[in-house]
């Protein structure tokens, strides 16, 4: 396997990067950690004339607290997210989700931005970020826009990214949720992609659920929020039966296909089990 020839750019500012991308149009591909891009180039699925590396844009690596929100730079690596004390304190579920990913080497290179923009349904970070109501900021030579992460994905590896845009930051708003978690079912304990996965956030008071989000990975052509299952829970008394019912709803809403990692039938079953267990965990253990 080899990487086809390309021209390489490493701009020093976001503005410069945007300018280069604007000029090169679809002849250029953005390079972050490269763990998806370089692999695709090696297996012949991608052959860009130009790679625009973001590696010099250190300001996009920052994870910080601001009034009303937590901001994660798009270039933050999986291991940075895993080890961030801020995230561990505020939303431990996100570092734990990062910890389910790949191997240590990949986690040192791979970035949250790449995980989002790559757009595959098995990506581990989008589900928990959507469960935490995250939004994203996209920057281009034409300006900036923000949108809920949930709206970013619309089909298999299809996103609302416009040519020339760079994902610069992900933002998690301060919220009333009392718990969140991400449960991933892989076929070994390290270096496994999700056969199915469920992220949830809950807002519990007393023994009822006031708000809930359920987001699935590897369960449909795109990351999938399951509103039916969410609605079935709101305002009802929490017990095992209710959670099992939510799992059933989630399984019904999921549209997995037969894949090398499991049959559609098996994966549907997993969605139900994982949703049920994730809800229980978030209710019992908070952000975990």
């Amino acid at each position: 396997m080899y990487v086809p020839d390309f021209e390489y750019h490493a701009p020093n500012t976001v503005a410069e990067a945007c300018a280069i991308l604007a000029e090169l149009g679809d002849r250029a591909t953005v390079l972050a950690g490269g763990t998806d891009v370089l692999h695709k180039m090696k297996v012949g699925k991608l052959a860009p004339e130009h790679l625009v590396s973001l590696k010099n844009l250190d300001e996009l690596r920052e994870i910080r607290e601001e009034p009303g929100r937590v901001v994660i730079g798009a270039l933050a690596s999986h291991n940075q997210i895993y080890t961030s004390q801020l995230l561990q304190r505020r939303y431990l579920s996100l570092p734990m989700a990062a910890h389910t990913m790949a191997s240590n080497q990949i986690c040192n290179l791979g970035t949250v931005g790449g995980n989002i923009v790559n757009g595959v349904p098995s990506a581990d970070l989008p589900p928990i970020l959507i469960a935490l109501d995250a939004s994203i900021r996209l920057t281009s030579a034409k300006g900036e826009r923000t949108m809920p992460l949930e709206d970013f994905f619309w089909g298999s590896a299809q996103t609302r990214m416009e040519p020339g845009e760079i994902l610069t930051e992900i933002s998690i708003p301060d919220q009333q949720t009392t718990g969140s978690t991400y449960l991933k079912f892989g076929l070994r304990r390290s270096g496994a992609l999700a056969v199915a996965a469920a992220a949830v956030s809950v807002q519990v008071s007393g023994d009822t659920l006031h708000a809930v989000r359920i987001v699935l990975a590897s369960a449909a052509p795109t990351v999938l929020r399951v509103a039916d299952a969410e609605r079935s829970l709101i305002g009802r008394r929490i017990d095992d039966e209710l959670l099992a019912e939510a799992g059933q709803f989630a399984a019904q809403a999921s549209r997995p296909r037969d894949s090398i990692r499991g049959s559609a039938e098996y994966r549907k079953n997993l969605v139900g089990v994982l949703t049920k267990r994730a809800l229980k965990k978030a209710i019992d253990e908070g952000h975990a």
Binding site: M1, S103, L187, S190
Partner: protein, 799 residues
């Protein structure tokens, strides 16, 4: 034989440890030579196709390309590893027979240019229907993989010992089960690599090989050269497990490219190409029948197998024989029938993988034996102890077993694992299983017919006695043979391990040794090394006898000191005696060689599976199963082996851990998957799921005290044998946990989940029917007597 050894029996540090952990060790792929070119092989994208034309002109014009070769440029002599079926060509000329079959090769200034050049070679194919399903490869009307082998039959075996039908007729209980084993691939961490170069008429190849000798033999044969003009050197090597036992296109094409360009050429496989070259475990359909008496004593066994050989023979004839030949080792029975077909398919060729031939049949037999035990209400541990082989016995297929402590292994593992307690008290979803294994300590006969010794060694003591170098053709592929053989040399010489050096696996410098396969080196290479060491020691004692004026037989040499056994006189150092020897008598050298005795019976195929000694072992594993997902958590594994005298305990337990690691993978996680065009779907390490360090359970590994009278210091093998029980052990632990049996490997989470789901559905139906009949709900029956759930054998994962 005294048990007071100074060097063997100790966990000395590995002789190659510092180089390996600091990264200083150079593997074949690390080596660079002046003017070296890079070579790559173009392979077939089709499982079965006729080659209509090959046009290399465009590739030849690409700057940086130095040579492009096809079948027109290479010898046409067919090669292979099993002499009975040489069926492979350096390049295909008429047909390609699997996705990955060799068509052409290039030599270029750099690696990238190779890939570009390969794309420019235009091959016109006429795609033919392919035989992809081994279960139907012998059917009428199936595509023929090789015209000369009718019905795609590569190997056919029919053996019967004793009177099977009579014994079955007289048995108290007769049962048949069928199982299917999957294709797995060795996946050594180091990709195959070879660097070929010519010096006039002499060919030198650095290669990541498990057997420089077989490479030398087969390469000389292919190019019609004297063996002496072919030199094979094995640098550091990162694992083989059977997959690097035979020369490949890398050596053959590399040698031709080097000849044409007059430059060294490095050829190599990337990970996907390794999978395509393959030579891993065969997929196999296995039907086992046994008849037992009312105590569970096995009276007769029948094994009826069908193997997917892939497109070529490789070592597959031996794999086919091994599959049946090794089955009667751990348990004693007199009547045995073995029938086997190994068929050609348009898939990559299978060969020898760790535990050669034995692990899947063992999986089938051990699962079957638990089913029999369940039928009779006998504890699985007890049925194994009842049938356990005794020492100094002969198997029905004429293998002589000297030392054998399988019964002690079972008894010990029963205690270690707390078997009896767990058998009674584990909750549903937790289970414990046992299985046994046995393996050859080196093959009784070489791969090709020859009367050459199987192993040889020299020892050269440095002129001042401060070091001794062991020269051996044996091959350290990571298992630690260099270390163990240096321990054995030092022990035999009365010298110190720390002063040993080793030169190994270079056919021009080191004496013949057949290499690293069939778990042979500690025993066979060790026997040659011991003899060489003893010859050094004899000369040292004779020299010391002159120096001290004492009779040689009153002297002993141990740990580098020569002293009198009876008198209190000053001792001499090995160094001073060795130096004096050099001054007065010339170089101090020792030589040794080893040839096994004549072994085995006289029926067809009697030679395969013979060995001067057999290892034995028993494993218990405990699993926890998540009923809702089928996920299997391995709680613990206990392994007890009878491997004769242990030379280096740490390396020995390392081999057990490694074998378990591979066995676990084969049991639950690993499978090579193909699409309907015969292309591998997971020729990479994300979806071909080798386990990782964090997947490994706690392992307790022990040995029983054992001594093999025929071996040097009483040694036997461990490296391959320890893989053999694992698959069956998992099958039985899962059965114990859930009361359902998955009858095909791998025992994946999904299959376990499905088996449980089907069981629940059956129970629901039964309950409803009972309710309709107005019966009271039944008391649950104990697990062991739950009727068997026999799942349709599924070869591949649904995907």
């Amino acid at each position: 034989m005294s048990d007071n050894h100074s060097v063997i029996g100790r966990s000395v540090p590995r002789i190659d440890g510092p180089e390996k952990v600091t990264g200083a060790a150079k593997y074949t792929g690390d080596l660079k030579f002046p003017n070296m070119l890079y070579g790559k092989i173009l392979t077939s994208p089709h499982a079965h196709a006729r080659i209509l034309s090959i046009d290399t002109s465009e590739a030849e014009r690409l700057p940086g390309v130095k040579a492009v070769i096809t079948h027109k440029d290479v010898p046409t002599l067919k090669y292979g590893l099993s002499p009975a079926r040489w069926d492979e060509s350096i390049f295909c000329s008429d047909k390609v027979r699997f996705v990955g079959d060799k068509v052409a090769a290039v030599a270029c200034l750099d690696e990238d240019t190779c890939y570009k050049a390969l794309k420019l070679i235009k091959v016109e194919y006429e795609v033919l229907p392919a035989a992809l399903d081994f279960l139907h490869a012998m059917d009428e009307g199936q595509p023929q993989v090789h015209e000369e082998y009718a019905r795609n039959i590569n190997t056919e075996i029919h053996q019967e010992f004793g009177d099977v039908e009579k014994a079955l007729a007289e048995a108290h209980h007769v049962r048949t089960d069928t199982f299917v084993g999957q294709r797995t691939y060795q996946s050594p961490i180091e990709p195959h690599s070879a660097i070929s170069m010519w010096d006039a008429e002499k060919l030198t190849i650095y290669s990541s090989t498990q057997s420089p000798h077989y490479f030398q033999h087969y390469i000389a044969r292919e190019f019609d050269m004297p063996m002496g003009d072919v030199r094979i050197i094995k640098p550091y090597l990162g694992g083989g497990f059977g997959g690097k036992l035979e020369p490949t296109g890398l050596e053959f094409a590399g040698a031709v490219l080097a000849k044409l360009t007059g430059r060294p050429v490095r050829t190599f496989y990337d990970r996907a190409e390794m999978f395509a070259h393959n030579r891993g475990r065969h997929a196999q359909y296995m039907e086992i029948t046994t008849g037992v008496d009312k105590n569970g004593k096995i009276l007769a066994a029948k094994a009826n197998f069908l193997m997917d050989g892939g497109a070529y023979t490789s070592l597959g004839i031996a794999s086919a024989y091994y599959a049946g030949a090794l089955l009667p080792l751990t348990y004693e029975f007199d009547n045995y029938q073995f029938d086997m077909f190994r068929v050609y398919t348009n898939l990559p060729a299978c060969g020898a993988q760790r535990g050669h031939g034995a692990p899947q049949p063992k999986y089938a037999f051990e699962s079957h034996l638990d089913n029999v035990a369940a039928d009779l209400g006998i504890d699985p541990m007890d049925i194994r102890i009842i049938n356990a082989r005794r020492p100094n016995t002969v198997t029905p297929n004429d293998f002589r077993v000297n030392s054998c402590k399988i019964k002690e292994c079972l008894e010990r593992v029963r205690v270690m694992s707390d078997w009896d307690e767990k058998k009674k008290n584990l909750p549903l979803g937790r289970g414990i299983g046992v299985a046994t294994g046995s393996f050859v300590t080196g093959a009784g006969y070489p791969i090709y017919r020859t009367d050459l010794p199987h192993a040889a060694a020299f020892i050269k003591v440095c002129e001042d006695g401060t070091a001794a170098t062991l020269y051996t053709g044996s091959v350290d592929i990571g298992q630690g043979s260099d270390t163990v053989l240096c321990q054995m040399a030092a022990e035999a010489m009365g010298y110190r391990y720390e002063q040993m050096k080793i030169v190994a696996a270079d056919t021009e410098i080191t004496p013949l040794d057949f290499g690293a396969y069939a778990s042979r080196q500690t025993y066979m290479s060790g026997a040659a090394v011991k003899q060489a060491g003893e010859e050094v020691k004899r000369q040292i004692l004779e020299m010391a006898s002159v120096m001290l004026g004492l009779p040689a037989d009153d002297l002993e040499c141990d740990d580098g000191q020569i002293f009198s056994k009876s008198r209190n006189v000053k001792s001499l150092s090995f160094e001073e005696v060795a130096r004096k020897h050099f001054v007065l008598r010339g170089p101090l050298l020792g030589r040794g060689s080893y040839t096994p005795p004549k072994l085995g019976g006289s029926f067809k195929g009697a030679a395969v599976g013979t060995s001067p000694a057999y290892s034995f072992g028993a494993q218990v594993g405990e699993v926890a199963i998540d009923e809702e997902t089928g996920e299997i958590t391995v709680v613990g594994i206990w392994d007890v082996h009878d491997c004769g005298k242990v030379i280096n305990p740490r390396l020995l337990h390392g081999q057990v851990h490694g074998a378990l690691y591979m066995g676990m993978g084969e049991a639950v996680w690993e499978e090579v998957l193909f699409d309907d065009k015969g292309r591998i779907k997971n020729a990479e390490l994300a979806n071909y799921r080798l386990l990782t360090a964090v997947d490994m359970p706690p392992i307790t590994s022990e040995v029983v005290d054992s001594y093999e009278p025929s071996g040097p210091w009483g040694v036997k093998e461990v490296g391959e044998g320890a893989t053999n029980p694992t698959l069956g052990m998992f099958s039985n632990a899962i059965f114990d946990a859930m009361g359902v049996r998955v009858n095909s490997l791998p025992l994946s989470y999904e299959k376990v989940w499905r088996a449980l789901k089907e069981k629940r559905e059956r129970e629901e139906i039964a309950k409803r029917e009972d309710a309709q009949r107005g019966l009271a709900p039944q008391v649950p029956v104990p697990l062991e007597t739950v009727p068997l759930e026999s799942e349709e054998p599924v070869y591949a994962n649904p995907s």
